[in-house]
Symmetry: C2
Subunit: 231 residues, 2 copies
């Protein structure tokens, strides 16, 4: 079968430690330069250049040239979902490592972005709160936004663009959280919510990682709007 070779090629691209580090760093959806990626992967720029070429040729990354910089980002949401699913299996399979969580790990577990939506303790807490309040219904495979949820998002000024579709109900995707082992909110709705939190200044990226910090304003709003405190 021909598709087999392509499969191994893609998996192999993600299977090198240096390349895995780069993909990991790109999982929050931002675009990074080759030198930045070399630094996070712990290799020299010329080695990184080779890896980036392979990743681009393999369809995992797309490049945007801008002056003397070249910005690399994940090629598509499908790539992000693939990376998420690999992380899921990796987290399932290797709880053997009692990896004493360093400060960076702790920050990631508390709250992080997962390509375009929120994950970590914050992400799960928000999903829980929305379910408890009856704003969304979440199953193992899928979720939907209820009438009250649609009203809530509307009140917050969150645009659920897919309303333009003929779908009578907004649907969303649950995403199993590798650190909390419980689902958080992904898909269109999760992305819109995350975007809103960032633009309202409720959360902000820590230095240049996927970890996010909840601002004072965010703490107030998460408590008042969603009934979520202690994040």
């Amino acid at each position: 079968m021909a598709s087999n070779a392509a499969f191994a090629e893609v998996a192999n691209l993600a299977g090198d430690p240096a390349r895995a580090g780069m993909l990991h760093a790109l999982m929050d959806g931002r675009a990074l330069t080759a030198t930045e990626l070399a630094r996070v992967a712990g290799i020299t720029p010329q080695t990184a250049s080779g890896h980036l070429m392979q990743l681009t040729a393999g369809g995992l990354l797309s490049v945007e040239k801008q002056g003397r910089h070249r910005y690399h980002r994940l090629a598509s949401p499908a790539v992000a979902r693939m990376l998420e699913s690999i992380m899921q299996v990796a987290a399932d399979a290797a709880p053997r490592k009692k990896t004493f969580a360093g400060p960076r790990d702790l920050a990631l577990r508390a709250a992080r972005t997962c390509y375009d939506h929120l994950a970590g303790h914050l992400g799960v807490a928000l999903a829980d709160a929305l379910v408890t309040r009856g704003d969304i219904e979440l199953g193992a495979d899928a979720g939907i936004v209820t009438k009250s949820g649609a009203a809530l998002f509307d009140r917050l000024g969150i645009e659920l663009g897919a309303n333009s579709k003929s779908k009578s109900r907004m649907m969303c995707r649950p995403c199993l959280d590798w650190s909390e082992r419980r689902p958080h909110l992904a898909g269109h709705v999760g992305a819109a919510l995350c975007k809103h939190c960032l633009s309202e200044g409720w959360i902000k990226h820590i230095d240049g990682t996927r970890a996010v910090a909840v601002t004072v304003k965010g703490q107030r709003n998460f408590r008042d709007v969603f009934g979520v405190s202690g994040v």
Copy 2:
């Protein structure tokens, strides 16, 4: 970050051509012996043995000893979803290969199982029919079974076990088909439907692959029950 190493390890396991072939062969959810897997991967049994040990140690496979045979299967649905998502990216990224589809490829494209549900032309046609008839609603991220759909499945004797949950509506997962580039039906509902088709003799596995053939009885039922013909 510690989880990075585990990520690369898992991806690397799937990234070797021989191991990829084995995983591919296991994607229909059956359990195969080491020798069978060696054959599909095109390697000797002793080489396969090493690969299988790695895959098991990495948490991708689970082994069941039975007499002098050792049956290997995917360790969890999470692994199956990971493999699906990699195939998705691989299919997206490599349409360069004008791969003249051999007969095996053609059979796979017509109808196949995707771990526990139906894919290929048949899977997409069934999903389309169910949507058209109003039995399910399918978005990009999620789907739900409508009242009429629940009645249909009940009439067919398909048990949607998750009804026991407090969920008021049955939800299901759409899965982007790599050959058709359109969603087919996955998740709990997709699995139940596939199981029903197999047990009723509407479809059956071709030799020992993921490809399935539609029986005469199946053609009649797909036409009469779902309005799907020409499969």
